[in-house]
């Protein structure tokens, strides 16, 4: 399993508690469109991702992240 695949799996695990609609999670799944998250859910979820990977995802960076795949890439970059 590559690092990216491992990160993707971890992120999927973190999404599940907030995935009330049971959406099938793919690279291109969007947080606002597909998962229908509001800003408060995003806040809770981002905090859990930050704590899992011991990183900070600033609100400025969050604004650029729309899909699960983009988040996985961002986590990879922020861990370096």
């Amino acid at each position: 399993m590559t690092d990216r695949t491992a990160t993707f799996e971890k992120v999927k695990g973190l999404i599940e508690p907030f995935n009330e609609k049971g959406v099938d999670l793919k690279e291109e799944t969007t947080f606002v469109g597909d998962l229908e998250w509001d800003s408060l859910t995003v806040m809770d979820f981002v905090a859990s991702v930050e704590d899992e990977f011991d990183i900070i995802i600033t609100m400025n960076q969050q604004a650029e992240i729309e899909t699960v795949g983009q988040l996985v890439d961002a986590v990879g970059e922020l861990q370096q």
């Binding site: 509001d38 800003s39 408060l40 806040m43 981002v46 930050e50 704590d51 600033t58 609100m59 400025n60």
Partner: protein, 419 residues
Amino acid sequence: MSMAGSQTAADVLAADGPQSRDLFEKFEPLIQERDRLLGTGVRDPFAIVMDEVKSPTEAVIQGKDTILLGTYNYMGMTFDPDVIQAGVDALKEFGSGTTGSRVLNGTYVGHKDVEAALCEFYGMGHAMVFSTGYQANLGIVSTLAGKGDYVILDADSHASIYDGCFLGNADIVRFRHNNVEDLEKRLGRLPPEAGKLVVLEGVYSMLGDIAPLDKMVTVAKKFGAMVLVDEAHSMGFFGEHGRGVAEAQGVLDQVDFVIGTFSKSVGTVGGFCVSNHPKTEFLRLVCRPYTFTASLPPSVVATAATSIRKLMHAGNKRAHLWENSKRLHKGLRDLGFRLATEEPESAILAVLLDDQEQAVRMWQALLEEGLYVNMARPPATPAGIYLLRCSLCAEHSAEQVEQILGMFESAGKATGAIG
């Protein structure tokens, strides 16, 4: 009769002009939600008009005498005779407005005097008065933290703090509401050498809960951050001198900037920043929401200065406001209402309801009983909560508080909010 009058600008464009997206389209879900709600026949909670205001605690709304339990008039200063006299004198002496910026023609002797009053009130060296509290946060947050700096803020921060972040160029980091450990973890992950501004509030206005500032300020200082505390809802009421939650918890001397407003306990309108930082005065020249707007009218700064100096000696009023808050909190709980805080933490008590429909029906039932409270809904409230926000005033009499409880009982039973 010509039909042309009923043709809208949009119709004309649709027929002849280029087809571009309707700018109002993004509001459509909200417009529909609102139409659905108002379609059930309830009154619009966001369109109340007060025809007369009889005192800090009483107004006339649609011909009905109404007790006000949803203002920010915590210390009841709006009808104080000294405050009113100061405003009348200044209005006569200095005119109705300044028609200019604080840094050009808009600083009168009264503006300097209210800044002096703030320095006396907080025991600090510098005060900067803005035209509103919103602008004070907008200006100070956006100006202090620039490119490469970090603003670390509580997730439940007021809109003016968020907007200050969006106006500036700093990187924005949020931590979970009132969570000291979460704040510490995030500070620890930031580059040690980067400039950091930690933004906290004394009282959070939606649920009326207070921040553990003693712990949070200590953590912020451990990482070398500057600390800004918004004491909008605590000024006049918390701490021995009414300086706010930071004073009450013994950490005011470690707070770099206190932001506040004249539109709550002070009883008029305006905002401010007080600080002991020696370079505070320089901010006047680089803070756009301070510079590029008209200053407050002379009557407003005169009423504010008088009110602030009176609030320095308002110990009895503070005690009565606490009594009111405790009595109402206990009374509402005894009636079976769910409140946002276990104990009364401030003069704001939030009654939690199941959903928007129940909240609006309860709100309307109270209004018909003769009681005004605020209805609040997301995104103003955290975590999808619908609530009725009650804020007490030092001028509410003990009898009024009992009357209020009676109104809650009948409205709660009529709407099924309580058994």
